[in-house]
Amino acid sequence: MDSTPTFTATKLGNSTAAASESHGRIRMRDFAIVAAQLILVLLLLRQFQIESPAFRILAMLAFAGFAVHSFLPLPARLPFFTALSLISIPLTLGLANGAWLIGIGFVLIAACHLPLSFRIRGLILLGLGVLLITQRATLLPTPWSEAIWPILGAMFMFRLIAYFYDLRHDKTPVTPAQSASYFFMLPNACFPLLPVIDFKTYRRSHYSGDAYLTYQKGVDWIVRGIVHLILYRYFYYHVTLAPSEVTGPAQFLQYVVANFMLYLRVSGLFHLIVGIVHLFGFNLPETHNRYLLAASFTDFWRRINIYWKDFMQKIFYFPAVFALKRFGTNNAIIIATLYVFLLTWLLHSYQWFWLRGTWLLAWHDMLFWAVLGVLVVANSLYEIKHGRSRSLSKKKKSWQSTALTIAKTYATFWFIAILWSFWTSESIVDWLALWSAWTGSYTAEALLFPLLSLLVIVLGSLSLPETATATMAAKGHRPWALDRAITIALALGLVLISMEGVHTRVSNEFGNLVSSLRSAHLSRLDNAKLERGYYEGLLSVDRFNSQLWEVYSKKPANWLDVENAGLKRFVDNFAQNELIPSFVSTTKYGTVSTNRWGMRDQDYTQARPADTLRAAVLGPSTVMGWGVGDGATFEALLEERLGREPVSSAFKHVELLNMGVPGYQPPQQLVAFDNVLDLQPNAILYVAAGREISRSADYLAEAVEKRLPIPYPALAAIVDQSGASAGMEKAEALKLLKPYGAAILQAVYGEIAGRSAELGIRPVWVFLPQVRGGSWQEETPETVRIARDAGFAVINLADVYQGHDIDTLRLAEWDDHPNELGHQLVADALYRALQKDPAILFGSTAATK
């Protein structure tokens, strides 16, 4: 069980406690100290753009509310906090959604208090739960927006269980303010992940200690949370690696540590949330108590999320042990522990459902909880047999016992970090493929993370008492003044280095580093995932720590469900899939239909009509027109305009054949090119949309893994040369093929341009940038060069979106495909390029209008 230190018995603490303990009062001087620190916190939130703008508004509301709240009579404080919490909901979700959420919440709370038996009320709650589940799964329509589900889920999915349990067992009357503030608790409106605060603890902790010390603890935790979040950004932006980048032991260790450190996001947010709740007098337990310094698996489980551990212990573990105790205490403990871990796995899926609307059931997820469960059982049995170190007072540590603690902590850290990498990997196979890195070259860099982690653990272990002590709980870990000094120094230091005039003076490198930490954005890896994300299931996105997850969590479950309606079909060739011919579906964005040839286009005769420029437009989803209706794709708009306002007299008619297929990578365009030859094009418009080089390597690695026949000799030769062999895991094959990315693209472009020239087809290459800038741009110059060298005429539309706000051009925050305006801009830009130089597509006999 974790200790819950209360801060008393220090010089200043005593004097303050004497003044305010029983009435929750705070002296003006103490209030000024807290208020000054909160102003510093606001500065920090602003300087580092912590979380969303909505959260920063809520933080201001909370801090201003704190100022009023501290001087209210004690009985008025909880109703005031309730009102503040309720106001925060429409402020964040909008009036209509906020009203719906509050309404649904009150219905659920009211159901708990119906004058019926506990069993009947339980059945009613179950019925309401099933109704909401069917609505969340979109089986029933709802009059409210999808945006409220994650927040409604966060408020009620677990807390309702804890609340109902306490209604049965805790006979202390519940007031409406206690109920409402418990569920609608500020700042929940901004966070879909919240500690599962126990209702009994919540009620009992309200001004259970000295008011000033409770507030001060809140400030300490808020600052600590901000530090966690900034550290998280450092790891997220600068240290994380993609599995394909894990090529040696140094990268393996970096991958494992960085992956685990992403959890700092959750621990940071939990500190922030619990810290804010402290400002309203709730003296709650410490969250994520130095979890990186856990010295055993049970210790880790106790520390990492004490709220979750307490919830599971109270609702499931103790009842299970009591029910099983006739089999012997040890047996009951073993079975109940395994039962708790099984439920933890299932409840994560349940949580996922409320956040995303789909169930999360992955093998490695289950295995992770199973392994952790078995480890905790083994550790518990050891503790039952040998006990663990406890003390009533602080004792001097011997160097031997300190060394043993450090060794145990170090081993626990690395074991958990490796287990964590397993949990967050996309699949078991991908995780196993990481281990091949140990056959890579051993460099001194491999020592970096083992030594760094050892240093942190040594420093952390030396600053902590070795054993749990009862006096530690009563007196706090450190002197009061030292705690204040740490909080203020951290906050002031961070504010200082966040100032441009300060961090740019140190060095350019440091300036860039601080600058990157000052804003929340997607890392280079997540940006790449988001670009690919249209074709992937959400399972491939880190589940509990990534900002990409957050972006995706806003995505409706049925977002552009045209894919599920059967837009594509599998085919037995190198491309693996293609659009289904004569398909029609109606989406929120209009009709999506294909012609008899399987193109998202109007119908065309097989033979090219006389006096017609027939250009096949090859490309991925942007060409196909993902997220816009028929007729609104840039291809359709351009074709219509070239017909209406010709730029060349070389041909009487212009036909543009939309050969775009969502998810097609450059090597797959070879198949699209082969297919379109039957329709006798006399020009090809190959549309490249960024990351052509890396995607080429990626697709070939996929082909290797799936043992696809590679009917293009140049590509097959590159695979042989790289050492990749059919059936190899994709991550492993990608490591081998990545250095050949440019060569693969040269082969693809060479094949298309070369054969076009042989067949009298004019090859034109169009560079179409992504709506959002990013690291994909690094590949652009080389990609353009490869296209030119291959023999394409190049139209570069790099600045097509310039001057436009990204939000006016893309479909949604989670989907960067261009919307109708984006397609219109592309069509206009292409038209202008052709108007300027018609020969590029129509040949040298063209005459411009």
Binding site: M1, S3, H169, F318, R388, R390, L392, S393
Partner: protein, 86 residues
């Protein structure tokens, strides 16, 4: 009666969880759960001991800080179930 009961429970805690510690430091108000002396396993061991020794039955919801955080509240709970404390 209360003193005997307190002493018996204190002896159990000292022997099981705090061997070698000074018994005088364990007072009736020393925080046991919030002080890290009783974790979930230790709490269950204590509960099983009391159930057996004093022929009482605890409920799962009673295994918490409110009822078991110090000797005083533990004794109070046992006496509420078995007023003779024997």
């Amino acid at each position: 009666m209360t003193d005997t009961l307190t002493q018996a429970i204190k002896d159990f805690i000292m022997e099981e969880f705090l061997p070698g510690e000074d018994p005088d430091e364990l007072t009736t108000t020393t925080p046991l759960i919030s002080g890290g002396i009783l974790d979930s396993i230790a709490t269950l061991k204590l509960v099983m001991f009391m159930e057996e020794k004093y022929s009482v039955n605890f409920e799962p919801h009673e295994v918490d800080k409110e009822h078991l955080d110090n000797l005083e509240s533990i004794v109070k709970l046992v006496l509420s179930k078995n007023p003779t404390g024997a």
